[in-house]
């Protein structure tokens, strides 16, 4: 694993006097499941927005999917996948329509869209649901679909922002199996979560405290380093030292 998909150095974001993200540097490699943890207010969302091309850093340098984080936000947006916590937009579309919508946004041709649509529905065993309204699906199904949509244009990296919030434990595990499978296939996964068993599934985990990356390693080595039995414990040890409130 040497090919980097994300490589950033000294990324900083200031809002007036407030430094939300302070000099963060790290690399994420192809096919990794990279966990991104932080307490509320630690700067996690601000950092993710910069990595997704939604906001430009105040200073720093780096690339995401081969594009410059300082000035190629539009290109980054086209070459990454993104799934947010709540999949609520355009719920009055059917499953098939929503696939077309996503494919259209990413500029896929009609032929490619038709092909990917078949593949996606077959893989999820959703072929019978093509004409079902998205809003009528159970939450777990919606989340699985959302993940598939985020990858419709075969991005090198998919950002998942708390993808399993409120999902039942069986579906939550099925969701992680989809993540594993995508990563096995070479897609890089960048994921945030509040479920403290989930960092254990990650290849590497970074923990952000007061806008800085305070820890970054494999779950096994982090637990050794902090002499903790679980990632939950590691997280609490670091988050408790936070100086800044929410």
């Amino acid at each position: 694993m040497s090919e980097t998909v994300i490589s950033v150095r000294n990324l900083t974001k200031r809002f007036g006097d407030f430094t939300a993200v302070n000099n963060i540097s790290f690399d994420v490699y192809r096919g990794e499941i990279f966990g991104f943890l932080g307490a509320n207010g630690a700067g996690k969302t601000t950092a993710m927005r910069m990595l997704c091309g939604l906001s430009y850093p105040t200073s720093g340098s780096g690339t995401v999917a081969g594009f410059n984080v300082m000035r190629e936000g539009e290109m980054i947006k086209r070459h990454i996948g993104y799934m947010s916590q709540r999949f609520s937009l355009y719920n009055t579309l059917t499953v098939g329509e929503k696939i077309k919508l996503f494919a259209g946004i990413y500029g896929l041709s009609k032929q490619v869209t038709a092909k990917r649509s078949e593949e996606l529905l077959a893989r999820l065993k959703f072929s019978s649901e093509r004409d079902t309204l998205v809003k009528a699906l159970p939450l777990g199904w919606k989340q699985k679909l959302a993940f598939a949509f985020a990858g419709i244009h075969r991005p090198e990296i998919i950002f998942l922002d708390e993808p399993t919030g409120g999902v039942d434990p069986v579906t939550r595990r099925q969701f992680w199996e989809m993540i594993y499978e995508a990563a096995e296939g070479g897609t890089t996964i960048f994921v945030t979560t509040h479920y403290m068993d989930e960092p254990e599934y990650c290849s590497r985990v970074s923990i952000i405290v007061d806008g800085e990356v305070r820890a970054l390693d494999t779950p096994t080595r982090l637990k050794q380093q902090f002499n903790a039995v679980s990632m939950d414990e590691v997280f609490r040890m670091l988050a408790r030292d936070a100086q800044r409130g929410e």
């Binding site: 932080g38 307490a39 509320n40 207010g41 159970p138 939450l139 708390e162 919030g165 409120g166 999902v167 039942d168 434990p169 069986v170 579906t171 595990r173 992680w176 199996e177 594993y180 499978e181 990563a183 096995e184 509040h194 479920y195 403290m196 068993d197 254990e200 599934y201 779950p219 096994t220 679980s230 990632m231 939950d232 997280f235 609490r236 988050a239 408790r240 936070a242 409130g245 929410e246």
Partner: protein
């Protein structure tokens, strides 16, 4: 006496049965947890017990009062913190508190002893408008407002959803203190690891209760053998383990996979069949609430 008594309560929205004939009871000063994912019916249950909606079938009492007949009396005796922040965003912290006190016809100072441990943490910001508070502070204000009339029962709908692990522990500490002051608490959460902070829990899914007991009692309901398995390639291991005879289930569980064995399972045969995996280990382990939940969901 039971402070909350629920008998065969049902509520539907169109074709969806949000609550499907559920029954349970909560004793005085109990901290009772409803544990389950979205769509379990937790919010519907709160709305029924706080008299905001009426049931299709069944009955329930809160503090000995009927949720339909005595709805006015119930409203003055319960505190309710909905899942979504529902204070007035353009009122300041202290104005919100004074407003809720006025609605219930009490004076802030009369209930101050109960509210103080929580309210003191946000008092430095008392002149700030509620919409400018952080998530954790909003929650402390909402809890203060829910307590201002000294309720005998407190209903908290997913107070820990979306907040980080540290703030979550703080909230549970506050609930423990309130319980010690004699307040009965019904609280819901999607986080299974919070179950052990409750006296008793109900595991809920899709409008039904899968099991009710103390957290330890729930764990003891798990009657299969459970193992922890690991190897270098965890994803391939998952697929391979499921093919072995005697493996009822195998699912990711933090750093290891959990393997539920049936009567035909043989550990040595398992190791032999998966001999190609490097660093394969399998060890017996104790089930958690989440294992029980998964098991009950699949029945």
């Amino acid at each position: 006496m039971n402070v909350i008594e629920v008998n065969n309560l049902s509520k539907g929205y169109g074709k969806v049965k949000a609550l499907d004939s559920i029954s349970f009871s909560v004793k005085r000063s109990e901290l009772f947890g409803l544990i389950g994912p979205d769509g379990a019916g937790k919010t519907t249950l709160f709305r029924l017990l706080t008299t905001l909606i009426n049931p299709d079938e069944g009955s329930a009492t809160v503090d000995g009062l009927d949720i339909i007949k005595d709805y006015r009396k119930i409203r003055s005796r319960v505190g309710y913190m909905p899942g979504r922040f529902s204070l007035y965003p353009d009122l300041t912290v202290e104005e919100n508190l004074a407003f809720f006190a006025a609605i219930f016809g009490v004076k802030v100072k009369d209930s101050y002893d109960l509210v103080a441990p929580i309210y003191k943490q946000i008092e430095p910001f008392r002149k700030r408008q509620a919409h400018n508070l952080s998530g954790g502070m909003k929650q402390k204000l909402a809890l203060s407002c829910a307590l201002i009339h000294h309720p005998s029962v407190l209903f908290l709908d997913e107070p820990t959803t979306g907040i980080d692990a540290v703030s979550r522990s703080e909230l549970w500490d506050m609930l423990k203190n309130l319980k010690e002051k004699g307040i009965t608490i019904l609280v819901s959460t999607p986080y299974m690891d919070e179950a052990f902070l409750c006296d008793r829990i109900a595991l809920c899914n899709e409008g039904r209760i899968l099991g009710i007991d103390t957290p330890q009692g729930i764990i003891e309901q798990f009657d299969s053998k459970l193992f922890e398995v690991r190897a270098d390639n965890m994803f391939a291991l998952l697929e391979a383990a499921r093919q072995v005879e005697g493996v009822a289930e195998c699912y990711p569980f933090g750093q290891a996979h959990h393997l539920v064995a049936d009567d035909n399972f043989n550990m040595y045969r398992f190791k032999e069949q998966l001999g190609t995996f490097s660093n394969l280990t399998i060890t017996p382990t104790e089930p958690t609430i989440e294992d029980v939940f998964i098991n009950l969901m699949k029945q």
